[in-house]
């Protein structure tokens, strides 16, 4: 008979989990493996609340395996390292993001693209090499293969830096891959939430002109004054959209709801690139004529490999880029999830795990 989450492994762990698709989270006792030779054990200090966490706890993508402990934007401190670990030592400040393992042998892994490995192991709702379930960062500690642990730069605050582990790499990676880093070029950021606000900051750090494209006129002031965007287009205002047609070299589309692509494609210049990093749960309508007439493309991108995630953290440290956060206690999580569903957060909740997760 399969062992219970509490008995599966030798190390006792406490966290919060969702048990069913109501998505309601509550205290959960489980266990993690002993620290193996290649492992690092981390006391979790902070964990960002990613919109994916909400999708998963409510089983919106139909792939949730309950009970689920979400959380893949963790910053913590090393408490133990295995014999073969040289990169980290006790007391180091580290991060863990969306993936904790991969096959390590395929071409994709060899190219430092572990996130695209067909056997990638996600930080939660996935299975370890030993077939036991993975549990995420809404918990007091985690044991991770050292190859999937990030060094967290000293000058980045651990609370507002935590969301970089998912939101940060999710927008940084496509900006590099699709060549959206030429100073002076014009980047559109569709959606001003957890992903979008970081895309604005990183875009500005690359020397780009940045326009935020949003359905909410109320966000304009913040976008420009606080985040540094150069301009703002209300996507539901036909006059504003028309005036901006054919002006953008690239667009990062962070919107997770089903939405129209046609106006965004229209905003692109010739050879323009629209990269979607949000995950609507239904297909979108793609008009082909404008792609053909303007040699435009629509691409996807999903987080990034570990090497690139480290590069992103170092880049953010250099440019002092952190997330705008609302720090919450663990027992606020269900309210936070409700507010997140209504986009009522500027712009990421971060759980103060170290100070508020108590049994």
């Amino acid at each position: 008979m399969a062992k219970s989450p509490k008995e599966e492994h030798p190390q006792k762990v406490f966290g919060w989990a969702a048990r069913d698709s109501s998505g309601s989270l509550s205290p959960f006792h489980f266990s993690r493996r002993e620290n193996a030779d290649g492992d690092v054990t981390i006391k979790v200090l902070y964990c960002g609340v990613c919109h994916s966490d909400l999708h998963f706890v409510k089983n919106e993508w139909g792939i949730t395996n309950y009970p689920i402990v979400p959380g893949h934007e963790m910053v913590g401190v090393v408490t133990k390292t295995g014999k073969s670990v040289t990169k980290f030592k006790e007391g180091d400040r580290v991060g863990v993001g969306v993936i904790v393992g991969s096959c390590n042998a395929c071409e994709t892994c060899q190219q430092d693209l572990e996130n695209y490995c067909p056997k990638v192991i996600f930080t939660y709702n996935s299975h370890n090499h030993d077939k036991t379930k993975t549990y995420g960062g809404y918990s007091d500690m985690i044991v991770v293969d050292h190859c999937f642990v990030l060094r967290f730069p000293d000058n980045l605050p651990p609370d507002s830096g935590a969301p970089l582990l998912c939101a940060g790499i999710t927008v940084y990676s496509p900006m590099k891959y699709y060549g959206m880093t030429e100073p002076g070029k014009h980047l559109g950021v569709a959606g001003l939430g957890g992903l979008g606000h970081i895309a604005v900051k990183i875009g500005k750090a690359f020397g780009l002109k940045v326009t935020v494209i949003s359905t909410s006129p109320a966000k304009e002031d913040e976008a420009i004054k606080r985040l540094g965007a150069d301009s703002f287009v209300v996507s539901t205002d036909p006059a504003q959209v028309k005036a901006a047609m054919g002006t953008m070299d690239y667009i990062i589309d962070t919107v997770a709801a089903v939405h129209a692509l046609a106006p965004l494609i229209g905003l692109l210049k010739l050879n323009g690139k629209l990269v979607t990093v949000g995950l609507p749960n239904k297909p979108l309508e793609l008009p082909i004529f404008p792609l053909v007439l303007g040699r435009k493309l629509v691409g996807g991108s999903d987080i990034g490999g570990i090497k690139e995630t480290q590069e992103m953290l170092d880049f953010c440290a250099k440019h002092n880029i952190t997330s705008e956060i609302e720090l919450i206690k663990m027992d606020y999580i269900n309210t936070a999830m409700e507010r997140l569903a209504k986009s009522d957060v500027r712009y990421r909740f971060v759980i103060d795990v170290g100070n508020s997760l108590s049994q």
């Binding site: 994709t108 693209l113 695209y116 891959y177 692509l261 046609a262 010739l270 979607t276 990093v277 949000g278 995950l279 609507p280 297909p283 979108l284 309508e285 793609l286 008009p287 082909i288 004529f289 404008p290 792609l291 053909v292 007439l293 303007g294 040699r295 435009k296 493309l297 629509v298 691409g299 996807g300 991108s301 999903d302």
Partner: protein
């Protein structure tokens, strides 16, 4: 002023008068050779599927009477005083465009096909405000910048379709980097565009799989065109077996069709390039795009420099279209057969021998 009196030089061709699309003899006129113009006697003209869309006004911007034809080849009879590149007797061709602004960024980058002021070979307005008429006619007058040289070793009749079908498939193979020996590229649809795409890709050293709804095209695809393999897109087992095997796909199908199975055929980081233009939007499944960092792009013909490069490449590798030569009187029947995809793989009108002006 009537079509016959508009310009000094008498011309004769076949035109559609209304959206029934029926073509019939049509007397009109063309301008005198300006100092940069090349005049040539038309010998052959390919029938592009766009001609069918246009005679029936399926895209909504046709102007009647409409003389189609943008795969035109012939022999130079006169050159303007400032023409540098051509002389009387040269074998030349004209493709989809006969004018552009010549000063915008696109034109400067040899991408006249993306110039916002490009002038189409037919059913458009020339610089002097008069209507442009295409190659289903006895003579053509075109600015030398938009005239291509046809190398001696290419037979004129089966070279004609290269001027649209050829550049439409050659350009994206180059631009999207699907031309590297050893790569695996899929070609969806085995018609006028598709069969030329197969030949170009093979000449570039690429492994080619044809993806088609018609199982009876397999033998031709493999034995005659040189494709390495063939997938029947409605056969689930075949499609399943080919999942994640292609670096790129050139999709030539202009009818509505599902993108999801094609995206599935791509390897991670793969590119689906649309060169057929379905009228209505297609469904874009976002998950697979993200999970594999894949992209869907469009491409439309090519600039003049690249079109000449393509013709020279075709001459070097002896690539021509597979054609059915028809007399002008067969035109309406050919259009009906084209609507049913009943042609292997391009009709070419023998203008030189069968188009005679009626007195």
């Amino acid at each position: 002023m009537s079509n016959e009196q508009e310009h000094p030089r008498k011309a004769f061709g076949w035109a559609a008068r209304d959206s029934s699309g029926v073509l019939s003899p049509f007397s009109f006129s063309r301008r005198e050779s300006g100092e940069k113009d090349v005049t040539f006697k038309v010998l052959y003209c390919g029938i592009c599927h766009s001609d069918l869309h246009m005679v029936k006004n399926e895209w909504g911007f046709s102007t009647y009477p409409l003389v189609p034809g943008h795969e035109i080849v012939g022999e130079v009879t006169e050159v303007g005083s400032n023409v540098q590149k051509f002389k009387v007797g040269d074998k030349v061709g004209v493709g989809c465009i006969v004018g552009a602004c010549r000063s915008c960024d696109s034109c400067t980058d040899h991408l006249e096909n993306y110039c916002p002021k490009q002038i189409l070979t037919y059913s458009a307005k020339y610089y002097d405000g008069t209507t442009t008429y295409g190659g289903y006619s006895d003579i053509m007058v075109a600015d030398e910048h938009f005239v291509l040289r046809i190398p001696d070793n290419l037979p004129l009749d089966c070279a004609a379709p290269l001027l649209c079908a050829g550049i439409t498939t050659y350009s994206p193979l180059r631009y999207f980097g699907l031309d590297k020996p050893g790569m695996h590229v899929g070609v969806v649809g085995l018609g006028g565009l598709g069969h030329v795409a197969v030949k170009f890709a093979k000449a570039m050293g690429v492994k080619v799989t044809v993806i088609s709804t018609s199982p009876n095209k397999e033998e031709e695809a493999v034995k005659h065109l040189g494709a390495d393999s063939f997938l029947v897109s409605r056969d689930q087992d075949q499609m399943q077996a080919a999942i994640g095997t292609m670096d790129g796909i050139i999709d030539t199908v202009s009818a509505q069709h599902p993108l999801l199975p094609l995206i599935g055929l791509l390897k991670s980081h793969g590119k689906l390039v649309m060169v057929g233009a379905p009228e209505k939007p297609l469904e874009l499944p976002v998950f697979p795009l993200l999970m594999g960092r894949k992209m869907v792009a469009g491409s439309g013909i090519g600039g003049m420099k690249e079109t000449q490069e393509m013709i020279n490449f075709a001459a070097k590798h002896n690539i021509t279209a597979d054609i059915e030569v028809i007399p002008i009187d067969y035109l309406n029947t050919a259009m009906e057969r084209l609507a049913k995809a009943d042609v292997r793989y391009r009709f070419v009108i023998d203008i030189g021998n069968t188009l005679k002006a009626r007195s």
